[in-house]
């Protein structure tokens, strides 16, 4: 790192691999579409990647928006739970020699950590201002990064998949798509559906929806608010941990991995409307698609007007910014997001 900059939370030595850039790493048995074969197939591949990113973002954003909608808490440590989920999964998978078992234990463990965190720290923040939330959870973020470094070391980990999932399937003539990525989409869609069922069809879900639109009322109804909050936070934590472990085999398990995606998740809930799960779903898919497809095609689009190298570097810069431009656009037109939950 440069100079004597001992600043708090300096970014990790190498930036976390950005979504979309990990796609091209070579793994055995992965089918691939040639980069210069600008066919429909390439677009479909990127489209699917975008859906996948969107679904993972949704898992993060759903927790975030619930926690903000119901407890009015801005939680910067949400990315830490995502990271912890990945680390737990990598560790448990190693111990049990099974990806699935590792995943299950990881979810449970993250849930436990989340609930403990809520009881110990979060509930004391509810009464404070949003600025205090930002500060306090920022402190937690630093703490967790350091704790992970202490326990697992600075190098990061890997989470490997069972052999079958490493294969690629020919989903369309000429297009080979990794099985695991399809699994991600399928599983996360299932979880989204379950979440929908939970929120729309169960009593807990009703309390959650009520809490999102009128916090005080729910308390006045005699519901055990404290327990509700703990459960909601735990649910958010589990979702985050789950997202973390799901992406781990493809992308990364390293310190600070939560930060970049956390910001994306915040962008999602801003676009979707704070407190709204439906909004989070739509916005997450939008963000996932814009980011992935944009990143893939923008350099080529620019190549029409610019030289290859200029198009490449400008394309890279612009595609990183695209999400934020979309967010800015949405906020100009609808400052409360696309599907704002309620007056509160």
């Amino acid at each position: 790192m440069q100079g004597a900059s001992l600043s708090v939370g300096a970014p990790s030595p190498q930036p976390s691999p950005r979504w979309g850039e990990g796609v091209r790493t070579s793994k055995p048995d992965r089918g691939d579409v040639r980069h210069d074969d600008k066919s429909m197939l390439y677009f479909i591949e990127q489209f699917l990647n975008g859906i996948q990113l969107g679904m993972l973002l949704f898992l993060l954003a759903a927790g975030l928006t619930l926690i903000f909608g119901i407890m009015d808490l801005v939680n910067l440590a949400h990315g830490s739970l995502y990271m912890i989920g990945a680390y737990f999964a990598a560790t448990f998978a190693e111990w049990t020699d099974s990806f699935v078992l590792g995943a299950i234990f990881a979810i449970v463990a993250t849930l436990a950590v989340g609930m403990a965190l809520e009881v110990i720290a979060m509930r004391r923040l509810y009464a404070r201002s949003h600025l205090d939330h930002v500060l306090g959870t920022f402190g937690l973020l630093l703490f967790f990064n350091e704790l992970v470094r202490l326990i697992w070391g600075p190098a990061g980990m890997t989470l490997s998949l069972p052999g079958e999932m490493l294969k690629a399937v020919e989903i369309l003539p000429g297009l080979f798509y990794p099985v695991y990525r399809l699994v991600i989409i399928a599983v996360t869609l299932a979880v989204a559906f379950l979440l929908y069922a939970l929120v729309m069809r169960t009593r807990l879900g009703m309390l959650i929806r009520a809490g999102a639109s009128n916090r005080e009322m729910v308390g006045a109804l005699g519901v055990n608010i404290k327990l509700l909050y703990t459960m909601v936070f735990g649910l958010g934590a589990a979702l985050a941990g789950f997202a973390g472990l799901m992406q781990a085999p493809i992308l990364t398990v390293q310190i600070g991995m939560g930060e970049n995606i956390l910001i994306l998740a915040f962008v999602v809930i801003i676009i979707g409307g704070i407190g709204s799960i439906r909004g989070a779903f739509v916005a997450a898919l939008l963000v996932g698609l814009v980011d992935t497809v944009g990143r893939a095609f923008l350099p080529d689009l620019l190549h029409v007007y610019l030289s290859e190298s200029a198009a490449a570097s400008l394309g890279r810069a612009l595609s990183s910014m695209m999400i934020y431009m979309v967010m800015a656009l949405v906020l100009i037109v609808r400052p409360e997001g696309l599907f704002p939950a309620a007056s509160k």
């Binding site: 790192m1 440069q2 100079g3 004597a4 900059s5 001992l6 600043s7 708090v8 939370g9 300096a10 970014p11 930036p15 903000f68 801005v74 720290a121 004391r124 923040l125 404070r128 949003h130 600025l131 205090d132 939330h133 930002v134 500060l135 306090g136 959870t137 920022f138 402190g139 937690l140 973020l141 630093l142 703490f143 967790f144 990064n145 350091e146 704790l147 470094r149 202490l150 930060e259 910001i263 915040f266 962008v267 801003i270 704070i274 570097s313 400008l314 890279r316 810069a317 612009l318 990183s320 910014m321 934020y324 431009m325 967010m327 800015a328 906020l331 100009i332 400052p335 409360e336 997001g337």
Partner: protein
């Protein structure tokens, strides 16, 4: 007028005055301390304190007094720094060009960001300012010519002809000190002026402000631009100080640092940002000498402050303030 060093109404000088005055004395004598102890790092550290205090001061103008919680303030540090770095690389080494450009560029970006962001409130505002800072971060990474991710070394500090030789560490230190003091004085006058009262009123009760006839948006926007400009200057100083620019200058954790400094020091106090910068940097420094895992202490400490402390260090010293 609310006192700059803030004396109490009684005959006994308030602890606040003592602390602030003491702080100034310590800072004024820091180079002497460094020379006596022969510790070169002390100068570096204290200069850094001054520069980041200026940045935190600019943030506190909009955040503490204006109630605009900007989570993307490091963007202006970065823009100011990159203005200096880019101009230096392109052969324009004169500070008389670099620094005004740094300030103007930061002010311009603040104008754009503010114009869009100030239409939102609450957490939306916090996040959209964060997002705009992220944009500058990614743009900086994409600037291959200027180092991209690795950053760019500045071989020659800003030149001011025969007036100032910024390579002289002590001179540079006192320059930063002078600029910080000027900044504090400026903010003090600003906050108590008509403009400042409008800003404070908008923080206190924006609905009321509109009801009595103030178009609050434009005042907040102007304030936002002023803060951006001031931070751009801090960025120019920082680039000179480290002889280096990199995207890390505008990373969001840097914005977080600035917020911590402002809150830690006390958001209603003129000397708050300086107190906060000093405390945070010294704390980090001493912790890192003791342990490899400084954030295991720092993190929970921040959480503690967030939960229990009102009015920051300034609040602890002088009791809770009014108005």
């Amino acid at each position: 007028m609310k006192g700059l060093l803030e004396t109490s109404r009684g005959s006994r000088p308030s602890p606040r005055l003592a602390v602030n005055a003491g702080l100034l004395v310590i800072l004024a004598l820091a180079p002497l301390y460094a020379a006596l102890t022969g510790d070169p790092f002390a100068m570096t550290l204290f200069t850094r304190v001054l520069i980041l205090a200026l940045a935190a001061l600019s943030l506190n103008l909009i955040m503490g007094f204006g109630g605009m919680v900007s989570f993307g303030h490091a963007a202006y540090l970065g823009i100011g720094g990159y203005a200096v770095g880019i101009l230096a690389k392109e052969g324009i080494g004169s500070g008389f060009v670099q620094w005004p450009v740094a300030i103007a560029a930061a002010a311009l970006y603040a104008l754009v960001v503010g114009a869009l962001s100030l239409r939102t409130r609450g957490v939306y505002f916090i996040m959209i300012t964060l997002a705009f800072a992220q944009m500058t971060y990614y743009v900086a990474i994409g600037l291959d010519r200027y180092g991209g991710d690795d950053g760019l070394t500045i071989y020659q500090r800003s030149r001011f002809g025969s007036l100032l030789d910024l390579d002289n560490k002590i001179l540079f230190y006192y320059l930063c000190f002078a600029l910080l003091l000027a900044g504090i004085y400026l903010v003090w006058r600003l906050v108590n002026s008509r403009f400042g009262l409008v800003i404070q009123g908008a923080r206190s009760n924006e609905r009321r402000m509109r009801a009595i006839g103030f178009a609050t948006y434009r005042y907040k926007l102007v304030c936002f631009v002023i803060a951006g400009a001031m931070c751009g200057l801090a960025g120019a100083l920082l680039a000179n100080h480290t002889n280096f620019i990199s995207p890390a200058m505008m990373h969001w954790t840097r914005s977080g640092d600035l917020m911590i400094m402002a809150v830690l020091g006390g958001m209603q106090a003129m000397f708050g940002p300086l107190l906060g910068a000093m405390t945070l940097l010294l704390l980090e420094e001493s912790l890192s000498r003791v342990t490899d895992y400084a954030n295991l202490v720092l993190g929970p400490l921040l959480l503690f402050v967030a939960i229990y402390v009102n009015g920051g260090i300034d609040g602890l010293i002088g009791g809770v303030r009014h108005g």
